[in-house]
Symmetry: D2
Subunit: 333 residues, 4 copies
């Protein structure tokens, strides 16, 4: 297979390296409008082919896969072109700038029989896969809440606000782990510089059965926090991505709720027990993801992070943006 | 001076011990409806005087100070009686169950020339006093946000929800450090047991100049987190109360926002620098607070955490409760 | 029972409070040469009986237990007097200033039918008791090493060096957990002030079967570290006493050693697995210890931390001191 | 310049990548006896030149630099050949298997006018360079101790023990920061598998003026610890390499030692103050080191980590091995 990687910025070298390491991949072409970036790629990957004209590359007959690592606003246009040229697409998160765009890409890919992969990289980490396994096993009991904090001193993304930049990670993890649709969204936040883009935001999601999810994303934090809490009746998970090895901790803590017989009195009792930090697969998530994508192409299967998964995230992002512009107004999904 | 401590539950022994250690305090009477608790006090404090009738004790002529450590719903009634009996009052947080109650107590105390102290203990920690000093010095520049998380597996408080139980700590710290009124409140949360009391809640406060404050309080968390971030243009503070010694960290990090001359283009640049963790006074906060209270009585001065400070907190609690019952509706203050 | 606590310094109030809380203890007399300290005890424990003449108190017929919390150099003399006066003795660690002193106290107590308790408090923590249970169960396999670090910026003890001050904690934990005698000791260290007392020291102990133990004690460290690693063939323990709740972590990590059949080639393979942090009993160790002591008196049983346990620790301290004065010379025990 | 990298194991790809990224480096030839490793290099670095015959490559006229990343036992032979062939040498740590070997290489390089660089990578980290700056400025006052722990569950190195594998990192950091020769060495440790190589070891070094250094290296630890404490009269440093950003912390803590006038009584007082965590340069250490090496060649300067620096470390390793075989015997250097 031949792969075209469009966009050789921050994440580009990782994409190129991981596709190059796949046995099924023969070569990679790196595209970018910026010739200096391409020169760096040629130095790092020792004479790799490069191009400043991605349209020309997309049109070439020897390219099988198009990887899109450009600004979000361009995802839809490039992916549409690539799909219509018969290429499988690997799109960086967030998938598109709107629900309508995502829906159109899903439809075209289905019609053309092509694979659409959204790079929700975290889904392929050992940590998230282990949490999925634990939740599926029923070990947490009924779910109470999903609470996520992702903050640091971030480089401002000039085309999107902090929600579009950081929340896709956590929303995709949530979507994968909870496996149920959010019913309503409310978001608050502010921007502190003249560009009108929020740099701090809080999102609350309502689900059925009093399940609640909450997200804090922040570009103005002095330290890096990447922590998710998932609470259930039987046990609870703390997922701290800044930990070197013990990223996932499962606490045998929960509450027992009973009603005294014949009395309208609720008895709540805490159970506290051991904490287990399971062994996690250490393989690089992007290596797992790119291999999974290539396997899905070869075996005609749907990727775990397919267009629908990308759309679920974009739908919440779009609603959050409406809510935040209306000072936290509740948006039904 | 003679002190009556009403309520010998969880916090009672700490109150008794700290008042006993003051040079100005001659003796303490412990009151509680539960005789078993009083027996424990007599064992721990070696023959201390106790009573199950706090009304009688309040009426005694030899009592100068009444300390109220009973459930919130009873604060107003007991404090009013004590004030009308001419006693200075030390009230546990939150001050009262409503704004109206707090306002009445403030008015009576002023009229009678008595001191009203609300036990926002954290204000008297070395950490919070140091942060006040840093913020007052202008070192943070303009303030951007105040973000607080206070979660753990908590004993359910059967008379109040998690906001009334945990948020008073952080709201009082915020009120003290920011020194400006919140303009609007929005709160979301859920309850997961049959008693109708929220066990998880998120509160957002809006201030002038895009300053935003956010609070996460949670009784269902498997681990204890007590962390506050305060961001400004010039530097930022991380306050982690679970740290043994380095509770306060000041990061010389911030952003420079400039507009290119003659161009409507905003340039944002990060500055990152050193981190400083200042030495903190290690004295027990309750010792500092009780001594301050007694000093205020003797020198006829207003306590730092007076009735107004208690009222500011209760006002936000009351509005948060209305908002949470209306799925996050924005409440102007 | 009536208890005399001799020495009302740093640890004194904790001893008084814990003995006072026992149902079997009727009253406590606090003794100290320093009247100011006694005044503080009378204020804190509301009119408790005090005395500056411990000899007189030891001689009183109504005293059943003598608690010795004075400088180490005086332990032997006071304990001997108390035993000869027919009192059960509770001695702070280290038990005595020499092996000979410890042996004499053990002998007198045995002869007089009295209980000798050495306050190796850590043995009564939930953490150490849980580790004992885990090691006894065989979960660690064969033991490889015991490595302990106990450092902080400590107040200089003017009568003993850092080994006598800090190492008794870790040596008593080691003695309890390993349950086997050290065969040889080597210690290095230095002193940096004119008093000739080492403020940094390292101790290595040799045991049978290549088991090794090592201790780092340091009064000049800028931060507090209290960490012990215990390694075995099957799993390993990390015990971090500065952690609030997860003090004990058991790692399912170890090595498999095999020899290829017919070949003199050793194959070593690592096994890495989950980590478990067991729930620990949170009761105050001194409460458990004092109750255990009183129970041993009432039921005529030997305390877990008896004179022999105290002697084991003193023997290593004494040998370490000889080794350190001889630049690390190996001392056979 | 053209570079030959001999040894394409664990560290090889990092060496190749960093030399490739230098402007002065035109191309890299990767050598290894294992053809599978070379195939991986060709895939990762897209058609890079490879060879299984490093002797032939060393002999080529177009090669300027030989990088030696092979087992320690082969360093001397390969480096000697390369130097005699007129190549500058970049040698992985530890430099050689003996003091005699190191001395010979230094002599040959000096005679031939070639640069010898020992890859003590840590010296080029922002953390170590910042600590050097702090210590040189006198901020720590007189030095008291250097204490280092480097432990983890490590892959057994079949040709060397844990001292030769792990201690070179810390010894090189110590040598660089203290800048003075150790006077005596004592080492203890054990091996737990049949191969006779120690897997746990403790090294103590004596210096002039009661300065002491201690090292704990361990392949059998369940968790990764990389921590160094450096104590001085005025302040102290904690260097924790597992921390993501705050690797270096400077504590304004120390002791004041005075002698009361006319009295032989030493007064020791602690000073405790703020803690500062300085901003560190984040550039990859190997990028800094390789660039420094190439700069030294071009400008005919001595590298910071030259042959003498490599020899200082090997001298302590050699003495430690003798000491450990003699149960901790003190070896004068």
């Amino acid at each position: 297979m031949k792969v075209a990687v469009i966009g050789a910025g921050y994440w580009g070298p990782n994409l190129i390296r991981n596709f190059l390491m796949l046995d099924e991949v023969e070569s990679v072409v790196a595209c970018d409008l910026d010739e200096a970036r391409l020169a760096k790629m040629r130095k790092l990957f020792h004479g790799i082919e490069t191009s400043t004209d991605h349209n020309e590359v997309i049109g070439r007959g020897d390219i099988d896969i198009v990887v899109i690592a450009t600004p979000v606003s361009t995802h839809h246009e490039i992916a549409k072109k690539a799909l219509l040229a018969g290429k499988h697409c690997f799109i960086e998160k967030p998938m598109t700038a709107s629900v309508a765009e995502a829906e159109e890409l899903i439809e075209i890919a289905a019609r053309e029989g092509l694979k659409l992969f959204v790079d929700h990289t975290f889904i392929y980490t050992g940590a998230v896969r282990k949490m999925k396994e634990i939740i599926t096993s029923g070990r947490l009991g009924d779910l109470y809440y999903f609470d996520s904090v992702r903050i640091n001193l971030g480089l401002f993304q000039h085309d999107v606000n902090v929600i579009w930049d950081l929340a896709p990670h956590d929303l995709s993890i949530m979507d994968y782990l909870l496996g149920q649709p959010a019913l309503a969204v409310s978001a608050t936040g502010t921007c502190h510089v003249g560009n009108g883009l929020e740099d701090i935001a809080y999102i609350t999601l309502e689900f059925a059965n009093n399940l609640i999810a909450h997200f804090h994303v922040n570009w103005l934090a002095p330290m890096k926090i990447r922590r998710t809490l998932i609470g259930g009746t039987k046990s609870m998970i703390v997922y701290d991505d800044t930990e070197a090895s013990e990223k996932v901790k499962v606490y045998d803590k929960g509450i027992d709720v009973t009603t005294r017989e014949g009395v309208y009195d609720t008895l709540v009792q805490y159970r506290t027990g051991d904490m287990l930090s399971p062994k996690l697969d250490q393989e690089e998530a992007l290596a797992v993801g790119t291999r999974h994508f290539v396997d899905c192409i070869l075996n005609d299967q749907q990727p775990t992070t397919d267009g629908q998964s990308g759309l679920n995230v974009v739908r919440i992002l779009e609603a959050s943006e409406i809510s935040i512009k209306n000072r936290g107004q509740l948006i039904e999904l």
